[in-house]
Symmetry: C2
Subunit: 666 residues, 2 copies
Amino acid sequence: MADHLVVFTPSGKRGRFAEGTPVLEAARQLGVDLDSVCGGRGICGRCQVEIGEGTFSKHGIESGARHVTAWNAVEARYAAKRGALANGRRLGCQARVTGDLVVDVPPDSQVHRQVVRKRAEAHPIEIDPVVRLAFVEVAQPDMHDPASDFRRLQAALAAQWGVEGVTASLPVLATLQATLHAGEWSVTAALRGREIVALWPGLRERAHGMAVDVGSTTIAAHLTDLITGEVVASAGLMNPQIRFGEDLMSRVSYVMMNPGGERELTSSVREALDRLVGDVVAEAGIDRADVLEMTVVGNPIMHHLLLGLNPVELGGAPFALTIDGAYEVPARDLGIVIAPGAYVYALPCIAGHVGADTAGVVLSEGPYLKDELTLLVDVGTNAEIVLGNRQRLLACSSPTGPAFEGAQISCGQRAAPGAIERVRIDRQTLEPRYKVIGCDLWSNEPGFEEATASTGVTGICGSGIIEIVAEMWLSGIITTDGVIDGGLAERSPRIEATGRTFSYLVREGEPRLSISQNDVRAIQLAKAALYAGIRLLMDRYGVDKVERITLAGAFGSHIDVRYAMVLGLIPDCDLSRVASAGNAAGTGARIALLNLRSRAEIEKTVLGIEKIETALEPAFQEHFVNAMAIPNKVEPFPELAKVVEFPTPRESVAESGGRRRRRRDG
Amino acid sequence: MADHLVVFTPSGKRGRFAEGTPVLEAARQLGVDLDSVCGGRGICGRCQVEIGEGTFSKHGIESGARHVTAWNAVEARYAAKRGALANGRRLGCQARVTGDLVVDVPPDSQVHRQVVRKRAEAHPIEIDPVVRLAFVEVAQPDMHDPASDFRRLQAALAAQWGVEGVTASLPVLATLQATLHAGEWSVTAALRGREIVALWPGLRERAHGMAVDVGSTTIAAHLTDLITGEVVASAGLMNPQIRFGEDLMSRVSYVMMNPGGERELTSSVREALDRLVGDVVAEAGIDRADVLEMTVVGNPIMHHLLLGLNPVELGGAPFALTIDGAYEVPARDLGIVIAPGAYVYALPCIAGHVGADTAGVVLSEGPYLKDELTLLVDVGTNAEIVLGNRQRLLACSSPTGPAFEGAQISCGQRAAPGAIERVRIDRQTLEPRYKVIGCDLWSNEPGFEEATASTGVTGICGSGIIEIVAEMWLSGIITTDGVIDGGLAERSPRIEATGRTFSYLVREGEPRLSISQNDVRAIQLAKAALYAGIRLLMDRYGVDKVERITLAGAFGSHIDVRYAMVLGLIPDCDLSRVASAGNAAGTGARIALLNLRSRAEIEKTVLGIEKIETALEPAFQEHFVNAMAIPNKVEPFPELAKVVEFPTPRESVAESGGRRRRRRDG
């Protein structure tokens, strides 16, 4: 019988096949990435291909529709039921080779398709399914052969899909006989490696998973189509553990004070995840049982509480984690109702203060894939810092405290409508203008008061505080040491004496919003802690400069990176290479959901990260003291200086007894 | 440095070791079976050895206590704390080689010791631990190395025991930090392969498991010492599912009639197992968490219900099992509270009617290890029958019905005090004598009435019915066809006309106990079904004779095998090779608990068993009809004839219309 040359594009894989070989079969033999759920029965339509027409001199082939068998009854039935195939496409399982061919596999027929991300510097997500669907026809039970239904299903999966020795948990097995009957001995199995995590009667073509970022304050969930990689529904909840304490340490204290309290905290976070499942499946119009896998990131304390591990050891030195490696556990063991055999995969923790959320950021940004020396900063109550590239990665956390979130600031507030988020100060008049969340107008533009009447102007959020302190320094209101210069009270009524120190009035009215000397000090302490941590990693790496800075998390999304650099939160860098990555931790969870190989990748990467404990580093204190200055006592910021006009260097001014008072307080 | 020859007995393993090598280390290097839990720290005392004294010409060695280092401080501390070592024994981890040695490892220092069984034909149980104990010293947490507690435990198990990549479930991990603290960084891990199923602070030397036989009527549990193999506590419970139906089929009907009823049945059997755990650990004075493994046998319906699998398909043809292979599942998933990571191992089912209980019988009796052709019969409401040897094994079940248990018999009752269990009939006078459960006297001996006054004589149990029908035939009261000979009414007033048939009066009084023609018919039907099943297997194997018959289960324990053969329940065989094995199914569960290799062995054996579905065999009917005769219409019983005097063959007598009546009833 004649042999024909078949070349698949875009892979370029080629081989000779006997007359009559189905195109899908040829693809499988060559290892070409061509999808199929129904196993070649012409019902799922996932193996669609395009037959090249004409002379392909590159391949030395004449190809054309005449070189495959004609459109057949199975394809006609498929088209009648599911709509005509685009562009003269054929079902790869029906079209058989009758001559030389160039066969193009379009992206939507590939299992390992790529999901494009918005930011150019973020590498695309490739799909490498953790769970795949396999339609099988199972032999009917027979009195002459007492093999169980499961044994016959195993045999069918081995014969029809080449998967030997399939296993299943009891909740899946409990659905087996009813599913076989409902599907008249045809079922679709969701295979996770060799384990069946769900079964449906007949053909099933869609698969979903959920990626979750368990934050201390909010829990965010993204229901994702496992085949296309697209997010089909998202939901968020306040972390219900807030009733046990606003911040993590107060929750750990709750556990210390209330033996068994860890179980309450565990229950509340698990219930929240289960509720989020309900929310996203309702939004997407699917069943809970259609969610086949869940991935989770979170800081070490949330990670441990979700898994039911007591976090008290994380509340004090030596901050020993119970586990640090990636962990997977049946969802049912966490009380989360999704597919009966589904698993939850928790990304690895890096250290006692650097959790699976940071691992998610690392996976999302992939610094270990690049030569470029990248600094990743995720700012929350603690800042997690990762520095490195293909050669080497370092990580630490630094206790910034909550000042960047508006806490400990006299007029600070959470980011919410009415909060000031942008500020500019006129270098001459020292008059401010600002924008609030929920209104696009500057405060000095007509209509601002009317537009903000409903929300009011209620406080200053984290990004607003960064900007105002930076602007105060740029306009000379505060010195490099962070002292509000009382001498300027003569120039502007906004510089007000308040006790022994001075403050800067941002807005009169109710409430009256001003930045006090203590507010400036709180920001200085926070940014000095962050910078000192970054600087320690740079020292350890042996560099004075980083090539890219990526800010992760909600804080990173809102601040203007230029002001962060003016304040000296982050080191000097070409501003075009400083950006926010949004919820990179959550993106990391989504990558781990879609790409099996990424799990081994992040597990291996995390093991290789050098962990620095800032508290043990003698240099931390010196870096911290230097970083109290704005932007820094010793570091030049040459890149920043190209785009921002620094204030004229001046002598320090006295803080009018502020230091003495501080000392008395301590 | 000098090398010394060390020979271990009884293994005969030998090697040369450098001066100063600990005897335990030498044993490990040679693969000698010498136990240790503490890993050579001289605290567990499990590596005790005896040093041979004198000249061992067989080995060419002069051995003696002078060829090991002297008794040391560690041994002195051990002896002071735990008592002196017997017979000049030494701790193998402390005594170091200083000359040639013959070292005897006594049985109690061997991991793979043998557990001797009572019956000579039963092979001994060798211990091959499913779970073993490993004491480790774990590195303390260190701020310079953020490795989690679990990672450091993994490292300790790898370094100190050579077990790499240990895993643990969340309930075990949840105990980790508290256990490390309580044990001051020394803990004992219970390892099941590479998985930790329990952790204790400090040194732990005892390990327990539980073997359970889940019968339709009773559930029996044996708490077993996993190190010595001994049963340390036993407990039984009525199967609480009895409230849903006395026999299995009525429970299946309950599920068919009450959707969701399978969950009630599952809960009730799981709760019963959990209650049995409470009973046996209380009796043994240990904690639930000390039970490290559970094994379970049961018929297919109980097996499926325990695992939460709906049994309705087992209620009708084709009797499809959901699963038939062995299955293991965390005990917590069945709601059974034992060690946090413990598993339940359910033996495999053989076919829709031949369950894990029969697999347990096969494992206990090991016919696949012998050349002798063995017949195993487990009689309950169904009889499970296994025939074969090393070459080949066959199995079937036969629907005997409950007559052998005293049901469907006019004066039948369960085996309980007051039930007649032994009967003899005088061949001349046709007068009976009998024994009842709870009294050692025959009914014609003085003091019988007084001795049984408290219980009364209330009925006839299964073994009594076998004997009385056999004795009726031996004394000529019934013919080979099973007809009670009314002609004998002239000879004995005990032959009474009852309607159109006759009956035999066993005892006057309250209640009046007699055997009716229908009773005889019920026994004939039951025994014919059993024999026809056995005969089918013999046909299939191609034999007319078996070499050994073993009766399993409670019924087998009570009947006199001679009478069983007289009635033709079982085929002819040398009576010295017919015996009861007691609860062989439960013993099979205990073997699977103690010996890891036995699991693979029974799983492989079960796969190789040829399953015969009696309902599909054309020959069944013919065998059944022949077996309605006593002992059989066509089979000679030459072995039986050697020890039992058969009645004079006679012409059949008419049953006086009994057949017609029977036809009307149908």
